[in-house]
């Protein structure tokens, strides 16, 4: 168990180093850069024209559907990894493989469903 946490503590150390790096960079930038605020600089940039309307105007509902698809599928694939690491061990074998094919079959049916339902078309 110590090794286990040791590994991640090093990783955490890296993250800390990274944060430090960014902080230093920002600090240095603060010292180096000029500050000359004008009204126009803080306007939202829309090709030089004053901004109009709300930000959600052009958002497609379709993105949600992709999100759903992803969430479901990605989590399903979570089951793959534990299986992937052991299925070739002695004692497992063909049956285990078939079971996973059943599982993949489920995934494939889901994909087929989404595809046939036209989720993947963009019209």
């Amino acid at each position: 168990m110590p090794d286990y946490f040791h590994g991640y503590s090093v990783v955490g150390l890296v993250a800390v180093v990274g944060v430090l790096f960014v902080a230093v960079a920002f600090g240095a930038g603060r010292l180096l850069r000029p500050v000359v605020p004008t009204r126009e600089k803080f306007l939202t940039y829309e090709c030089g024209v004053d901004p109009v309307g709300e930000g959600w105007a052009h958002t497609q509902i379709r993105y949600y559907v992709y999100a759903f698809l992803y969430v479901i599928f990605a989590v399903d694939s979570v089951f793959l990894f534990p299986w992937a690491t052991v299925f070739a061990e002695p004692g497992f074998g063909g049956v285990t493989l078939v079971e996973m094919f059943v599982f993949l079959g489920f995934l494939a049916v889901g994909l087929l469903y989404a595809w046939k339902k036209g989720v993947l078309e963009w019209t």
């Binding site: 559907v65 969430v71 479901i72 089951f79 989404a114 339902k117």
Partner: protein, 132 residues
Amino acid sequence: MHLAYPAVLAALLFCIGLYGVLARRNAILVLMSVELMLNAVNLNLVAFDVWLRERLHTGQALALFTIAVAAAEIGIGLAIVLVVHRTRGSSEIDRLTDLRERDTGADAEGDADGPEERAGVKATTDSGRQTS
């Protein structure tokens, strides 16, 4: 590492989630709070699994399933929130009162039926196909 840390963290997460469920009025935020609760459970399960050094790793197995369950719930939940938002333009759960039992007379409810249906029809026609 002592078991207390993850356990306390999980308890905190769960309580925050619970508070969110009870206090938040936006359906999406409630949904997120529920996810928080589920992840607290996951943390618990994995921590206990490690602590127990259980041979079968039942805790981790359940954690995996919990992840899957949470994902499925999010999928369906967002779809439902979307439908609600589409039919009434708001996802505040406080405003979901169409089905509440009222003590007013029958006429009021009878009237309430009409616009509701009309609004529903409109929503279907302009929203196209919904798949979840």
